[in-house]
């Protein structure tokens, strides 16, 4: 179950999402690829009203 999602930037570009999970030491860096199922899960999580952390570049 997703705990937090954060936008990650490099050289001025939004590159990927950083995802942590509830009660887990697992951390994923998720590419912006609609075919990636982690990316799909993030979009679903966002559509459910959850908020992505965005600290900017």
């Amino acid at each position: 179950m997703i705990d937090t999602v954060e936008k990650m930037y490099d050289e001025g570009r939004f590159q990927c999402y950083k995802v942590t999970y509830v009660n887990s030491i697992l951390l994923k860096s998720v590419p912006l690829d609609p075919e990636n199922t982690d990316y799909q899960e993030i979009q679903q999580w966002i559509s459910e009203g959850n908020t992505v952390i965005d600290n900017g570049e």
Partner: protein
Amino acid sequence: MAIDKVTSAALETSTNQPGFRNIIINGDMSIAQRGTSQTGTTSSGYYTVDRMYFSVSSAGTWTQTQSTDVPTGQGFSSSWKIDCTTANGSLSAGSILSVMHRLEGQMLQYLKKGTANAESLTLSFWIKSNKTGTYIAEIKDTDNTRIISKSYTINVADTWEKKTITFEGDTTGAFTNDNGLSCLVSFWLAAGTDYTSGTLATSWENQVSANRAVGQVNLADSTSNELYLTGVQLEAGTSASDFEFLPVDVNLDRCYRYFQMMHSGSANKGMGLGWYSSNTNARFVPVMKKTMRSTPSFYQTTSSDGFRLFTAGGGNDNITSWSVQDSTNKNFALGYNTSEASGTGGQVGYVLTNNDSNYFGLEAEL
């Protein structure tokens, strides 16, 4: 007489069983790249045995293991085991407990689903549990939201039993010919009334949730409960052939399409080329073993300073995690870290694991 040539056709004739007939990848549970045990599981995901997705919601807490308990004399060395550590004897309506195998549509075109020539499918497997009674196996077409479910019985407690179930072909709804999810093969283990209050869908039908798992026992109702599964094979046709054992390297290679563990459980293992693109931006190229289903996620721990970039000058720069950038599913992945990196722009080196609890993998699962 010496044999000078054996054709693939001759091999098929000798066994009357074509190669790669098993649609299930890692059905013998022999590959477990992520690890051989996971405790405290209460949410869905891939945890131990490759390609076996554990689906759980409000249905107890579980330890899952790659076990060496296998049916005697059948050639298997591993099974997938789940053990209930916190029970739920009063399932909520939406409770789910199942293990499922997720399949790409492009792998299934030869089944001719959605045509008059649609192939039947036969599922065979070995199963063992202390919890006897009715269980449900289901095939779901996620492209067209259609299902078919069949019940089977675990007859004798704590005894390996082989089950064979045939699902007729579906003349409605083709699988999409791409790398996306098209089909789920599910072994239900517990289900709330949302999935059990109807009439079991023993023929293909447009999905009615209440018809998916009617009659399913609740494996989550006691901490004494455990279940083992191995030898899972799904093949075209109306009969089950012997389990198709693949060489371990072939089996592992098939799993790599979805997950590649680079290193786990050991420090000071090289993982790939690294360098500094600036004084505060470390780069890392993990070595991709083969083309993956999609651009992979980086699968890693939150372990502090789990990696280090060892540079040509002898420096060590500890890194907690890597972010993915400009990668593809073919041969190339690139990571970066701009929050902790401290080096000299242009300096090269390589990346190592930095502690025994750390791991790093590439994941492109369905």
